[in-house]
């Protein structure tokens, strides 16, 4: 499969311009930044606190923006135009994901600067965050494809923001209800575990299992995205 950078960039450019005029969607980046200010002002933040903001950014900025821009393309019948053009699935979703990806990176950097998060091993954290972003982009795309309107998308994304954004609080439940132990394998919890390991001075050789779990989430979600997209390509 040969990807055309020109087509990916054209979709990215269009989405950037469109999103800059769509405050309903783009203003979501304020949410994690405000939380970062709030918690940053409370003194030295813990890993759990840093990752509450990071996970909230991934769920609200990455997944929501992706979900909303895809849902709007469906609502306004513009996705059909892209599907009927020579752009491939990878080019369309690649271009659209690039916008959410860049906004997420900017939001994460701003939040980390506000809360003063400086990981001991930046490379591991960057790899873990990028793999996590792939998962959230795929999740946002699926939900966007399943939504009929932007309003529907903004409702359908709420459980995602709750589960993944504030999911670390659910860990308290795992101790009381063992049946919920699967929560430990959620991508947001894996990310926190990696962060703790990194701060404990562990390297790639020690966190690879968590990275593989994260990657598995990303791969499964990407395959599911391709399946849903193919389904939606047909009326």
């Amino acid at each position: 499969m040969i990807l055309s950078w020109k087509r990916i960039y054209a979709i990215f450019q269009k989405d950037m311009k469109d999103l800059s005029k769509n405050l309903f969607v783009s203003s979501i980046i304020i949410l994690p930044i405000m939380m970062a200010f709030l918690y940053g002002a409370m003194g030295e933040a813990t890993i759990d606190l840093h990752y509450m903001i990071i996970n909230l950014t991934l769920a609200s900025v990455t997944a929501f923006i992706q979900c909303a821009v895809i849902a709007e393309e469906k609502e306004k019948h513009t996705l059909r135009g892209l599907m009927l053009s020579p752009a491939s699935v990878a080019e369309i979703l690649g271009g659209k994901s690039l916008v959410s990806f860049i906004l997420t990176v900017v939001t994460l950097v701003v939040c980390m600067m506000i809360t003063g998060y400086e990981p001991s091993n930046m490379l591991i954290i960057v790899v873990a965050l990028v793999v996590s972003m792939l998962f959230y982009l795929a999740l946002g795309t699926i939900l966007g494809l399943l939504s009929r309107t932007v309003v529907e998308a903004s409702v359908i994304i709420l459980p995602v923001i709750f589960l993944f954004g504030f999911g670390s609080m659910l860990m308290l439940l795992v101790e009381k209800v063992p049946a919920l132990s699967f929560i430990e394998y959620l991508p947001n919890i894996q990310l926190i575990e990696i962060a703790y390991d990194v701060e404990a001075g562990l390297g790639f050789g020690d966190v690879w299992v968590n990275l593989v779990v994260l990657l598995a989430w990303a791969v499964v979600a990407t395959l599911a995205t391709a399946f849903v997209y193919k389904k939606k390509e047909m009326d």
Binding site: K6, R7, Y9, A10, I11, Q13, K14, K17, D18, K21, N22, K76, H77, T78, R80, G81, L82, M83, L84, S85, P86, A87, S88, E233, M234, D235
Partner: protein
């Protein structure tokens, strides 16, 4: 002449509701083919099947000699242009930004964008934001986008439905020029004069079935009753039957130098549609 579209025994059922039944037709290269029928007759379903957006329940549909199920790939998409009732534009962006995106997707020059904007009479409006456009202007932008990459085959679903007569005329001229250059056009419309003006052949679709298929002229002749209307110099109109009886009457009026004009009474495509289906084309 080579067939660009071939449809054999095509059927589509939604739930228990048949949308298309045993539809057979072909469209030749360079032809403008009209698909005429009222709302819900299956026109859009046919376009969706032919463009790979929908799969048929049974039967065959080929475009460029390729099965419709396989047409969903970049190289074929580049050869077709689709304007349908569910085509949309980016409302917050300008006309120019909307078209620029498609210039890049189809690898088309910005010069071509200017040409199509002129064709749809929007050359001076390109900076306008789409959400501020009237329905007619939006339709013209969509048409410009469809024509941007000079497709070999155009699917146009009611292309002038929202346009005023002046803009419709301009679009018709543009489509005629494209057709003269070799573009094959598959057109659905309610507008009988549009069909008569543009189409080499038309098919009447009613309740998912093709009722008639021929050249507009041939259809009108076939359904003509042979009668004549004579306009007399005193302003009166007289309808006369065909054959010897009518000829005698015409001769009489002509001998007396009373005739202003004589017209054969051919039905319009709309009249024929009503006669065949018992339904109006709305």
């Amino acid at each position: 002449m080579e067939n660009i579209i071939e449809v054999k025994s095509l059927a589509k059922v939604f739930g228990n509701q048949p949308a298309l039944e045993d539809v057979n037709f072909n469209v030749k290269k360079g032809e403008t083919f009209g698909f005429l029928g009222p709302s819900g007759s299956g026109k859009t379903t046919t376009i969706k099947i032919l463009t790979g957006q929908l799969l048929q329940t049974s039967g065959e549909a080929e475009v460029f000699g390729v099965k419709n199920s396989a047409i969903n790939n970049g190289s074929y998409r580049r050869r077709i242009g689709v304007l349908s009732d569910n085509s949309g534009l980016y409302q917050r962006l300008s006309i120019e930004d909307n078209l620029k995106l498609y210039c890049d997707l189809y690898d088309v020059s910005k010069q071509r964008m200017e040409e199509v904007l002129e064709l749809v009479n929007l050359g001076n409006e390109k900076k306008k934001i789409v959400s501020k456009l009237s329905k007619g202007m939006t339709q013209r932008v969509l048409l410009a986008r469809t024509l941007l990459h000079e497709p070999e085959l155009l699917f146009l679903d009611e292309p002038t439905s929202a346009l005023d007569p002046a803009n419709s005329k301009q679009i018709h001229e543009g489509l005629r020029r494209l057709n003269e250059k070799g573009t094959t056009i598959f057109l659905t419309t309610h507008d009988m004069s549009e069909a008569e003006t543009l189409c080499n052949r038309v098919a009447f679709l009613n309740k998912g079935k093709i009722q008639l298929l021929d050249e507009p002229k041939a259809l009108r002749r076939q359904f003509a009753d042979g009668s004549l209307t004579v306009e007399l110099k005193n302003g009166q109109f007289v309808t006369l039957p065909g054959g010897a009886e009518g000829a005698e009457e015409v001769y009489k009026y002509m001998s007396n130098n009373e005739v202003e004009s004589i017209h054969s009474n051919e039905p319009t495509l709309g009249d024929i549609f009503v006669e065949i289906t018992g339904r109006e084309l709305v």
